[in-house]
């Protein structure tokens, strides 16, 4: 029975992927991509990767989907692209096929059973004080990756901002939105954020011992903020705002400070002394939460506008 369900999900996934790539209509392709992210989340649940499933649904489906809807809307006003020539098509198909072949060869070349550090993690997780192995890996065993990830996100936001025309710097992020104050958007932007805040902080806090964590929580909090902004109930901050900049660097700075404390206490950057491992992990997560929330939310609105537009 489960085999049937799994096969159906896989066939749907491949079909959706083909729809996204081959679709002629940009908006339909984006809708397909969001459905693809949600379905992929379900597949991760089936694979027992609840943390990955939540991240995939929140970031792969939701946030990336929102980014792509914005891109599709901007593309609508752009000049239509000339159809691909036969030469381009041949090159694209050749590169794609070669890439697939190399990936397949790599996967098939893996020894059986695949090399795994899972038993090492399971053996040492008690020293970290957290019970969710994903959190232990992300913030204790491989915390360098997570630090670099946070920095990459910050760089991505700076890259988006650097696309703003000089004349509009330093302006507010995005176009001010207005909505009917008695309309349904304003209604849900008033009702949902309190619920979303509780769920977001719950997922953040539960992340130490259960599936969840700062990334999923930050996506929910960012979505709530965007909802308020898009209903015209709140404004995006100007890029020169001090609290905005402080929030953006809080995560990396906090992370690096904990890392430096590791040098002093254990002799290794990002080393966590076993006695304080859990408080330090929670400190990193608390520092990262505002940074991730701000970055994920501020990637979505269109670039800077200094002058208010009609």
């Amino acid at each position: 029975m489960t085999a049937w369900l799994d096969s159906a999900a896989l066939i749907l996934l491949i079909g959706l992927a083909a729809w996204v790539v081959l679709g002629r209509n940009t908006f339909a392709a984006v809708a397909g991509f969001i459905a693809y992210g949600m379905l992929l989340g379900l597949v991760w649940v089936e694979l027992q990767g609840i943390d990955v499933a939540m991240t995939e649904a929140a970031i792969g489906g939701g946030l990336t989907g929102a980014l792509m809807i914005g891109a599709a809307r901007r593309l609508k006003s752009a000049a239509p692209v000339a159809p691909a020539t036969a030469g381009t098509l041949v090159i694209a198909i050749g590169v794609g096929a070669a890439m697939a072949a190399i990936l397949a060869a790599c996967v098939l070349a893996l020894p059986n059973p695949a090399p795994s550090l899972a038993s090492l993690v399971a053996g040492n997780i008690a020293a970290t004080g957290v019970q969710n192995p994903i959190t232990a890996v992300l913030l204790a065993f491989r915390s360098m990756d997570t630090l670099l990830e946070a920095v990459v996100l910050l760089l991505a936001l700076i890259a988006v901002w650097s696309l703003a025309p000089d004349a509009e710097w330093p302006g507010r992020i995005g176009v001010p939105q207005t909505a009917n104050p008695n309309g349904i958007l304003a209604y849900i932007a008033r009702v949902l954020p309190p619920i979303g805040l509780v769920i977001g902080f719950y997922i953040f806090w539960a992340g130490a011992d259960q599936p969840g964590g700062k990334f999923q929580a930050a996506t929910i909090l960012a979505a709530m903020w965007l909802l308020i902004i898009s209903a015209g109930l709140g404004k995006t901050p100007p890029v020169s705002s001090r609290w905005l900049r402080a929030g953006l660097i809080a995560g990396p700075i906090g992370f690096i400070l904990v890392g430096a404390y590791g040098v002093a206490s254990t002799g290794a950057f990002l080393g966590l002394p076993a006695a304080y491992a859990k408080p330090l992990i929670v400190t990193i997560e608390i520092a990262l939460l505002p940074t991730l929330t701000l970055i994920l939310a501020l990637l979505i609105p269109p670039p800077l506008r200094k002058r208010a537009e009609a």
Partner: protein, 96 residues
């Protein structure tokens, strides 16, 4: 045994609503009718599935979470349907 019957009957009823919603989405002639079909699937279909699965949960907290998910889906579904319907009317595709 009785528990199995309860779950099978209610989840099947929920699935029927999802199926009907999907058929409506594919077959109904205009966007507003399609929207109507879709929201029925969210509200009633998911509700029946939740009620069917409730007695299988171990704790009250788990059950409360599942009911809460259903309520949230209803809220977002209803609001989104309104927003989409508003856009359809604004775009002028719909002539009453």
């Amino acid at each position: 045994m009785l528990l199995d019957l309860w779950t099978i009957v209610l989840v099947s009823m929920g699935v029927v609503f999802f199926l009907a919603g999907t058929v409506g989405l594919l077959r109904f002639p205009d966007a507003l009718s399609r929207l109507h079909a879709l929201t029925k699937a969210d509200n009633l279909g998911l509700g029946l599935v939740v009620i069917g699965l409730l007695p299988r949960l171990t704790g009250i907290a788990d059950g409360a979470k599942m009911i809460f998910v259903w309520l949230l889906v209803m809220l977002s579904g209803a609001c989104l349907a309104q927003l989409v319907a508003h856009l359809i009317r604004q775009s002028g595709d719909f002539k009453p």
